[in-house]
């Protein structure tokens, strides 16, 4: 392999220089570039291509006229959505489910990883880890079928409640319990798998720090507080920012499979509303407009979270 020369000449003309360098880099690392090609193609086809279709949110879309041919209606769909009777309820529900989700399910994998880290027996640790991953690999449809059966009036959870002296009740018919069921089942399903990234971060911490701390007489809690937590803080912060960026865009499949009209009060969120409007009533433009609104909010939240984090903790996405 020849050495790469980056002579001073290359910098004289910046734009020509850039292409020259790019070509050189391409030649030198052609295999690497080729390997990233599928990823780039994926993003272009599935993530940038569809942006073109967003315009139907500002149009009165009719399949026969196509995306380009449909007439513009400006912000009509947005105004309709803002004026809709359910607008505030949708915002509230979407925000609350995600907010509670963030509070309760975000720390769980971290705690879990910390606890696993303290285990002495490697064999036991591996077994626990593997078992905790399992629910992640079950399809959401099956999970929701299981949840529905568990919380039915003659289901497992109700058996437990009766055992503890409570009364049988179909829990999915209680609007007050929907978020609890949704979030706790989410923790059960996702905790193990999401802890992987923290376990990986834990393994990066320099073992000498622990040895020094032990010599200084630090106990387990002190070591966890002063070494482990600061050690994985960058990972935690980055994931937190990313999670905040998704605060309003939760996957709607699970809600769709678990909710019913009686729990709309707490369970109906923007994406399920879009689903009913777009796919059951075939109002594509309207649901696109609501989707755009949702993305704009998410984007704003992401930027805010990132800036706050950069100011407060020095860690940020960019």
């Amino acid at each position: 392999m020849g050495t790469i020369h980056t002579g001073t000449k290359a910098y004289e003309n910046s734009s020509a220089g850039f292409f020259k360098r790019l070509l050189k880099d391409l030649a030198a690392n052609k295999v690497l570039y080729l390997m990233i090609l599928p990823i780039i193609a994926y993003y272009i086809v599935f993530h940038y291509g569809p942006i073109y279709g967003l315009q139907i949110g500002f149009k009165k879309y009719s399949p026969g006229l196509g995306i380009l041919g449909s007439p513009w209606v400006g912000l009509d769909h947005f105004v309709n959505f803002f004026r809709s009777y359910y607008f505030w309820r949708l915002i509230r529900n979407t925000f609350l489910i995600n907010f509670y989700g963030l509070i309760f399910s975000f720390p769980m994998p971290i705690l879990f990883a910390l606890l696993l880290n303290e285990l002495r027996s490697n064999k036991f640790k591996r077994t626990v880890q593997t078992i905790s991953y399992l629910p992640h690999f079950i399809s959401i449809v099956v999970i929701c079928g299981m949840i529905t059966d568990f919380v039915a009036s003659d289901g497992l959870i109700n058996d437990l409640i009766v055992l503890l002296g409570g009364e049988r009740a179909p829990l999915l018919q209680k609007p007050g319990l929907f978020r609890t069921i949704y979030i706790s089942s989410g923790i059960w399903q996702g905790m193990g798998f999401r802890s992987i990234i923290f376990i990986a971060a834990l393994s990066q911490i320099d073992q000498q720090l622990y040895e020094a701390a032990i010599i200084d007489g630090a106990g387990r809690l002190k070591r966890a507080w002063h070494i482990t937590l600061p050690g994985i803080a960058p990972t935690v912060v980055i994931l937190l920012i990313l999670n905040i960026g998704r605060l309003l865009s939760l996957g709607f499949e699970k809600i769709l499979l678990l909710y019913n009209p009686i729990t709309y009060e707490t369970a109906d969120v923007i994406s399920t509303f879009v689903f009913r409007k777009g796919l059951e009533q075939y109002d594509f433009s309207y649901s696109t407009a609501v989707g755009i609104f949702n993305s704009v909010i998410n984007f704003t939240l992401l930027i805010i979270a990132n800036n706050v984090s950069r100011k407060v903790s020095d860690y940020s996405l960019w």
Binding site: L37, S153, P170, P261, Y264, Q281
Partner: protein
Amino acid sequence: MEKKFFKLFSLILAAFLTVSLFAGCAKENGDNDEPNKGQDMDTGKGDDAITEAQEEEFSYPMDTNVKVTWWHGLNPNVSKSFESANETEFAKELEKKTGIDIEFMHPTSDEQFGLMVATGELPDIVEYSWDKFYSGGTPKAIEDKVIIPLNGLMEEGYMPNYVKWLSENPMLDKMIKTNEGLYGGLAPIEDGKSILGPLVRKDWLDDLGLDRPETSDEWYEMLVAFRDKKGAEAPMTKRSSRFATFFHSIYGVGTSFFVEDGKVHYGPYDSRYKDVMGLVNHWYKEGLLDKDIVTMNKNLEYAKMTNGTSGALVGYTGHISLLEDIARETDSNYTLTATKWPVLKKGDTPKFGHKSWAFSLNNRVASITAACKHPEIAARLLDYIYGEEGQMLANFGIEGISYNVEAGGKIVPTEIMHNDPDERSFFQMKGIYTRSYATGPYVRHPQMTTFDLTLPSQWEAVELWSDSNELDHKFPSIRTDVADAEEMGNIMAQIKTYNDEMYLKFLLGEESLDKFDKYMDQLKKMGIERAIEIYQKAYDRYLSD
């Protein structure tokens, strides 16, 4: 050496991944090319053939070499046996009888339709529900030049059978054509009888010495007896969506829009709706209705009906044979019987009962697209099915193979239909020989019910359930003015969500019925009166035409 191999390997992998990424798109493009292929073959002597045929007395089979492409969703009853409807005996017989070469095409997903329309590469015939799926409905699809109105072809005499049928059924004719008088396609015509209704355990009734209940009081008495004497924890079960008609029929209020003395009403916005909800809530509190109705699913429902937890449900004719088959493995006495829809006073005829108009706006009509080069031939093909011979083929298949006509005119399925050597079900067998495995562009034969159903108790069920005055009160399958359609959609989207929610709240007692006036006020605020006004306008025009 090893390094080189690794390099080569990653190159191939990368190339493979990139190609596979585009493979999905490429495949769809391929599918969409097909309509064109079909049309390219159309060019040629088609025109001559049709003019010749017009000059002399017309008769099938036609002498033409035009190929007609026909797009419709493939029903699971067919896809179980074949990849495409082309391979069915029904299609082969239809081609033979009409002399027209048909190429059936099937979408792999619902989105494919939007794509197909957007690219303008349309097949000749499309089965689609414009009024349900296409924003703006049939009039807009015609205006957007996706499909052609059939009026010209009908006037020129290419569709004598369909024209004849419409003239014999003027009320349905008014529903099928748009407000501008255009026909968007050939409509599926059903018989409108109710195949859904109340079912109760006959063996329990006999044990308890009770007759089949007719009034709400008799129902109450029976369910209490089921609960107290038969130990049924949930005497009546079913999925909540099917509950509605049962209670509404008692008080004579529709579940949605209905007509009374020429005036349009909205069921849930009616003072009688309070009585309906009062009764439902009462029964629920007494433990007569299943506690799990909201989250009920099919398997739970079957289990409860067959293990003695429940003794009554609102179900389909198919439930009779299905549940009896399951239950009789453990209880040979298990028998289900249908009852009429309940009424308030003994001897009354139910006002509602899940009967439907023979034509529904939700059904898929067979339309001829603007891309069709030989609409006359497509019209002749579709019209054949509305003739006497075509109707028999679409309903029952081929005489001597899939059906026989007994002395006295009774049409019965042949032996193979119920006992297929390959163990396919009756409806899968219908998928091979007929179009009547699902609704489609044909007129349902009056004998279809007895042809389909094996048990006399099922025939009785259809008669009992259909014994109601529903069609006097049911809002017809008509379209609102195009200008009103969007406003109507916006109003009703909110009201539907609100109603679904409040219906269950009243039912479960989460919301007291004292708040009923507030509920009515809320409906009013959401614009229900404007919606009624729009429907009243459409109804008045329907009557005046």
